[in-house]
């Protein structure tokens, strides 16, 4: 993929972007308000997206996926999120956080067992790293895993797990060797439901309300030894690498929400008249729209670059963090300004602006807060300048 792709996407990517946009416009846009209001998981739409290959974009065809690259995945998540921020989140979590680590670190048998059934949209997965005691401080995982004969026994609580109530499996992180600190964390695959694993109450969230977020409670949860993902003690590394890629997914979700907010505001600026003319004629409104457009487009290019670097198997940690930071801040900015352009209409549920504002907010928090992204970027940057 060359730099000219940034100016004009290759034909295949344009086609897949179009098909996702068509689906989002026709199937998600009309129901997004209802999904949000009633906290409804879009099960049918997830199945339809699965049939289109969107739930497993990067998974090879042999395992049931679409066999496309990460740039294609980023485009898909953006277009889906533009229709419905919650659905975009479900797509992103399934692709990047659940399938991602299994694709990268799993054995062939694990891939067939834990990926293939999750490509169709019939089943979705989740990713359990955060705990009530640590979110950003991922190395301090207090969930424990001890070996007992031919089984691992897991104990502990995971918090803020997206898709939890709708998932059929989880990639979960637990400490196998406390003395090794973060090098003593391992990754495990646990089916859901499963004896010893229960779910906490569904969180009542500000936004992305069609997704379920809850605690995962493990009480002597027993799984076969073969359910360890990757090698013992590599859990932290798996988590960090998974989040690196996941950031491109969340950046794409944020772009979709930001774009939807911008579309809403620009359309309104054409139609709403005040002081004798459409408000789009007023400089104050024009400046807002211009600032929103610049924020979205620059974040988009950062996101595409991060995806293209990943596809080229080059280091992309810094770029992914920059993309997530820029896109999430663009989303909250556009959500905020979109309401402002709409005035009173932006504050009521008749228009989608207020939903975009609420949906945008989470993108600055999950999969690495904006503060963590800044630390990651600075860390990479300083490495480059080290003498």
């Amino acid at each position: 993929m060359s730099l000219s792709s940034l100016a004009e996407l290759p034909e295949m990517h344009q086609m897949m972007r179009q098909t996702c946009r068509d689906y989002a416009d026709r199937e998600l846009g009309p129901i997004a308000g209802k999904l949000d209001k009633e906290h409804l998981f879009p099960a049918q739409q997830v199945r339809e997206l699965g049939a289109m290959g969107v739930m497993a974009v990067e998974v090879p065809e042999a395992l049931g996926g679409a066999g496309m690259d990460y740039l294609a995945y980023s485009l898909a998540v953006e277009e889906i999120s533009r229709g419905c921020g919650s659905t975009g989140c479900v797509v992103s979590v399934n692709n990047s956080l659940y399938i991602g680590p299994i694709l990268k670190f799993g054995t062939q048998k694990q891939k067939e067992q834990w990926i293939t059934p999750f490509t169709t949209g019939e089943k979705v997965g989740c990713f359990a790293l955060s705990e009530p005691g640590n979110g950003s401080d991922a190395g301090a995982a207090s969930t424990l895993a001890r070996q007992e004969g031919e089984e691992w026994v897991l104990n502990g609580t995971k918090a803020w797990i997206t898709n939890s109530w709708d998932a059929s499996a989880t990639v979960i992180f637990a400490t196998t060797d406390k003395s090794l600190k973060h090098k003593g964390i391992s990754a495990f695959l646990v089916p859901m439901p499963h004896p010893g694993l229960s779910l906490g109450k569904k969180e009542d969230k500000l936004g992305i309300r069609a997704t379920s977020t809850a605690n995962l409670i493990l009480e002597d949860c027993k799984i076969p030894l073969g359910n360890m993902l990757g090698s013992r003690g590599s859990g932290f590394k798996i988590a960090m690498q998974t989040l690196d890629s996941g950031r491109i997914g969340i950046a794409s979700q944020a772009l979709g929400i930001a774009q939807a907010a911008l579309d809403c505001a620009a359309d309104y600026a054409h139609k709403r008249t005040a002081f004798g003319a459409p408000i789009g004629k007023l400089q104050a409104v024009q400046f807002k729209l211009a600032d929103m457009a610049v924020a979205v487009e620059s974040a988009r290019l950062l996101t595409w670059k991060a995806a293209m670097l990943k596809d080229a198997k080059k280091p992309f940690t810094k770029e992914a963090a920059m993309a997530k930071l820029a896109a999430s801040e663009a989303a909250t900015f556009c959500g905020h300004q979109s309401i402002q352009v709409l005035g009173g209409m932006g504050y009521v549920t008749d228009m989608p602006a207020e939903r975009h504002y609420r949906d945008a907010r989470i993108t600055e928090i999950y999969e690495g807060t904006s503060e963590i992204q800044r630390l990651v970027i600075a860390g990479q940057l300083l490495k480059e300048y080290a003498s």
Partner: protein, 242 residues
């Protein structure tokens, strides 16, 4: 019963606000979003469904126009057509092209490809001619089932439910035949990602109208403006038209 030809036309996207060119010679097409004619999408969907039900073996997507129409053919391939044919017509010839010339091309291709069915959209949303299907059938001397809202294959015959002014009409026609798709025939599928990938490898053959024995469209002559109806009648009498 092996092969179906489906026509797909590249038109300005239905959602675009059409603008007339400053010199009034046509509408602005440069940089404007184009997509497959919605009725052609329905035609493709019907053909692909017939293939999935194993009534036919191969669906060939055909489009006439400049290089850009290959995008439209590619979309048809991503929806499930097996291969494409791009009949290349560009520039002034493309602007002068109309249903009669297209019909001649489709008739020639239908014979060449030994098609059992030619399925077209009932009309294109840019010119709204609603002529190509009918003309193609006439040139081939094949039966036609136009404005189809339901198509059922029954041995060597096709049962077509047609949407007509008075309601619905059911006809039974023999194959080979020409069908045109109306709105309620089906709901076109979304191109799936794996099919978009597969479409990359499917072949699109290239040819010119001349390869099919079809002439260039006649050069359109300039018209004359007259002031009154009397002048018009006089002119028409003078050149022997009436």
């Amino acid at each position: 019963m092996s092969r179906v030809l489906v026509g797909v036309k590249r038109v300005i996207d239905y959602a675009v606000k059409i603008r007339v060119k400053p010199d009034h010679s046509g509408v602005v097409t440069d940089g404007v979003k184009h997509s497959m004619n919605p009725f052609c999408e329905i035609a493709v969907e019907e053909a692909v469904k017939l293939k999935e039900k194993k009534f036919i073996k191969e669906v060939v997507a055909v489009s006439c126009g400049p290089t850009q129409v290959t995008e439209t053919i590619r979309t048809a391939l991503a929806m499930g057509c097996d291969r494409g044919i791009h009949v290349e017509v560009s520039g002034k010839d493309y602007e002068a092209m109309g249903p009669l010339q297209i019909s001649k091309i489709f008739a020639a291709l239908a014979k060449k490809e030994e098609a059992s069915l030619v399925i077209l959209g009932k009309q294109a949303i840019d010119d709204d001619c609603n002529q190509t299907g009918q003309m193609t059938a006439a040139l081939l001397d094949w039966p036609q089932g136009t404005f189809a809202s339901e198509v059922t294959i029954d041995g060597e015959k096709v049962k077509v439910v047609r949407e007509i002014d008075g309601g619905l009409e059911t006809i039974k026609i023999s194959m080979p035949a020409v069908l045109t798709a109306d709105l309620r025939l089906n709901t076109p599928r979304y191109a799936t990602l794996p099919n978009i990938m597969k479409a990359k490898k499917k072949k699109i053959a290239n040819m010119k109208p001349a390869d099919l024995g079809v002439d260039e469209p006649p050069t359109r002559l300039a018209g004359v403006k007259v002031e009154t109806v009397d002048d018009l009648v006089a002119k028409l009498k003078a050149n022997g038209t009436i």
